[in-house]
Assembly symmetry: C2
Homo-oligomer: 374 residues x 2
Amino acid sequence: MQDTDRDLLPEGLGDRLPQAAWAAQHVRRMAHDVLAGHGYERVDTPMLEFEKALASRMAGVQARRMFRFVDPISLRMLAVRSDMTAQVARIAATSLSNAARPLRLSYSGPVLAIKGDGLDPSRERLQIGAELIGSDSVAAAAEIVEVAIEALRAAGATGVSVDFTLPDLVDALSAEALPLPSGQIEAVRQMLDAKDAGGLVDAGGAAYLPLLYAVGPFAGAIEKLAQFDAGGVLADRIDGLRRIAARVEGKARLTLDPSERHGFEYQSWFGFTIYADGVTGTMGRGGTYRILGRAGADPEPATGFSLYPDPLLDSLAVTSTTPQRLFLPLGHDPQVAARQRAIGWATVAALDETDDAVALGCSHRLEAGEAVPL
Amino acid sequence: MQDTDRDLLPEGLGDRLPQAAWAAQHVRRMAHDVLAGHGYERVDTPMLEFEKALASRMAGVQARRMFRFVDPISLRMLAVRSDMTAQVARIAATSLSNAARPLRLSYSGPVLAIKGDGLDPSRERLQIGAELIGSDSVAAAAEIVEVAIEALRAAGATGVSVDFTLPDLVDALSAEALPLPSGQIEAVRQMLDAKDAGGLVDAGGAAYLPLLYAVGPFAGAIEKLAQFDAGGVLADRIDGLRRIAARVEGKARLTLDPSERHGFEYQSWFGFTIYADGVTGTMGRGGTYRILGRAGADPEPATGFSLYPDPLLDSLAVTSTTPQRLFLPLGHDPQVAARQRAIGWATVAALDETDDAVALGCSHRLEAGEAVPL
């Protein structure tokens, strides 16, 4: 191979240089500290699993998106994890099947996909998340939304906003209050998702039109949704959303988009998307769902969220402060140097007389036991 | 697929459950804090790279050990990283080629191999390391050994011991003082590595026999090595080892095994292996080496180490303390709960009246604003 090829990275895969790597470390630590504070215990999952095992627990997560290859040992197909949620669900259903519920678990690590999505060409990104297994109640959802916001804010995100949705809205309405021919349900869902009023009418969903207007800042939108819900089919859900919103009011901007389904195809009654200032796409999402139990056992209700903080790292990198660097000249006292590290300095020891303190990023130099500005 | 298959993991790949995951987080944080304190800036590298690029920078690291597959996008072979050192060397030679030397970088993350080695069937393990790029001097080596010991001790390892070696010993001796026919050099190396005195004589290396006895606790073994080195070819190396040993004396048990080459095939003059109490195999190794520069540039001297703390996690898991858990009954004051978290409690909020504080691992319960033992 050519010498220059040696330096190339595949499309969508890259390094984090010191500023961004520092920011990533900061984000992970802060998020895990918040999650640990709320009783979420960390688990770590393998980078590779059997493809079929991963795919069978990831309802709707396309196996096609995963890097796959034959394991030279087992001769079975392996896949690189593209989402840690399914792995955490596996742990809950197997090793921790006897742990008391609700079971609170957290995790973080790299996930990979063959192709980046949409605007983001990255094929590897950091996922941080929490799962509350054993409940999909309003109380569980409120806790998960609150913890997600708190984790993101602790990690340094500003202007956090949360968009609520009701993923099974059309199912709930069409079952009773606003019946649809079964052949039409999917078309109505799609038109609602596309916010296509004309298409919605054409698909026989004229009765669903008001949903397209129960959208926007939470307080107003939830009122419109309540007015629309003349039959009261949605009363529990609306009450649930109000209670969740009350729990996090003042901590994030709240909006409602009740018929948004994109990314929530496998959520049950509740879903949410998180945004932050300076980040174009979503920061993460979450909601209620069901996990497959151990073979033969019933599915369990669960609530959780995943954050993908990579887009945040560049802006954080600018503001999060790496430690100040203190140059230690040749012959310095190692005890004094250790004391300087203990109070927060990063020390940079001279290896020979040519080492250049300023070029090495030092702002200070140790002289007679004191940190002297350079 | 069968339901039960869904729960299987491939051989050598596993989860870390809460105690071990907590220990792994603790080890990474402590190690990175020590490294940051000594001026090592963190970088993150991708899980996948072009196979040839990884292999060409990993002198002697067998490409055969890596999981490899065709990238559906580039249609070129990718490999899952089996070692982060080569990736960090790439960063030093490319993105950070203009950064001042010595360049201090640290890293950590999962690395994978098709097969576990020897006694350890794991195919995925955590690697934590540091590289000091631009120098392979005694001062660089002493700093790297000191930082490795400090990182491991901060991570909770006890009874740390370090075994020094001189990887290019036979090259140095056979060039001048104790010439060997070139066809014999490899055989002599192998017999020394195998500690096979008879084989060494048979291979024409009788003159090298004293090396087999310059082994053991550092103070005695280095004396024997110095006596053996009548010609003075090794004088610089012996002086270097003494200075490194003086730097870390009292921080770890030190031994010398000057002809040990296993695992140091691509190190230059200095290598070391780290052990700790309660861990059967090695905890890590390091030494001096040379990294390939950017295409057309000269190779650079470097010194570094890698730790593989997984074997430590089980013993650490027992002793490292997870936060105490405080049960928050329904209707608790969220402000009080936040204050309890701020002083170090992990809080576990009741979601409904059936939640069982003791089963959920709580030692205390919040009552009238106070943490009351259960």
